[in-house]
């Protein structure tokens, strides 16, 4: 087992355990902080899998911006504490649904890609991403920037006190 594979296994365990903590936590702020752990470890997995630019973008945008936004949302709304205040009555059904989804996905994945191997010896540099993004994918890139602008205007209009 190579070193990147070992680190993918370690960070993958961190991702899985923290994700369970996010949905099980009785305190909303703790849930947000566990989400930091999930997203940071996922960014580390991206780096190990050779996705340099996406890994750092993940850490900058998710951990830097989205978590701060979610914490602001928690501070500005009443954040109750306790199992009965945060979870509804459907926990059993939700658990069954999630287990069914996981079972079907795992079955399909191992049937289709059970023998596929990743060779972690190639890093996609930021220059390659930029070249590809600004040649073949320039139209989706512009569309996404329009979407961001629309979301910005929409968020301001919605949150404006009138």
């Amino acid at each position: 087992m190579s070193w990147p594979a070992v680190f993918v296994a370690i960070f993958g365990t961190v991702v899985a355990l923290s994700a369970v903590a996010v949905v099980m936590s009785k305190n909303v702020v703790h849930a947000a902080l566990y989400l930091v752990l999930v997203l940071g470890a996922a960014g580390a997995i991206f780096l190990m899998l050779g996705a340099e630019f996406v890994g750092w973008t993940q850490i900058l945008i998710y951990v830097g911006a989205i978590i701060v936004l979610l914490l602001f949302g928690l501070m500005l709304t009443a954040a109750p504490i306790g199992r009965s205040a945060l979870d509804n009555q459907q926990r059993g059904v939700a658990l069954i649904t999630a287990a069914a989804v996981f079972g079907v996905f795992t079955f399909i994945i191992w049937r289709s890609f059970g023998s596929a191997r990743i060779h972690l010896n190639q890093v996609v540099r930021t220059a390659d991403i930029g070249r590809s993004l600004f040649s073949g994918y320039i139209l989706p890139f512009e569309l996404v920037s329009v979407l961001l602008l629309a979301a910005l205007v929409g968020a301001i209009v919605l949150a404006k006190r009138d």
């Binding site: 954040a79 945060l86 996981f102 590809s132 994918y137 979407l147």
Partner: protein, 101 residues
């Protein structure tokens, strides 16, 4: 390294997100669970890109698009949550059921 283990991690993260969306009633926690599901898709895309060895890195580019869309989604979502809180004094999504029959 086996591709299927990384994909299984993505599937697990997605299922945890599904559980969170269904079982939580605080709207901000539902948004967090949606972030978990979006991130599981990113893990899948990056893993397939590493397996495929595509010179154009299409998987990574689509992961970037998903990160951008997630940022837009959480911005608009939190604005809606704040608006609901201002009008109803609660973000318990079981009580916000005006559009339900």
């Amino acid at each position: 390294m086996s591709l299927a283990w990384v994909l299984t991690l993505g599937a697990f993260l997605f299922s945890v997100g599904v559980y969170g969306v269904l079982a939580r009633k605080n709207a901000v926690l539902v948004l967090m669970s949606i972030e978990l599901m979006l991130n599981s898709v990113n893990i899948n895309l990056i893993a397939f890109n590493a397996w495929f060895k595509d010179s154009a890195a299409v998987g990574q580019i689509f992961a970037l698009f998903i990160i951008t869309v997630a940022a837009a989604e959480v911005g608009v979502g939190l604005a809606i949550v704040l608006l609901v809180f201002r009008h109803r004094k609660t973000i318990n999504i079981d009580e916000v059921d005006l559009l339900k029959w």
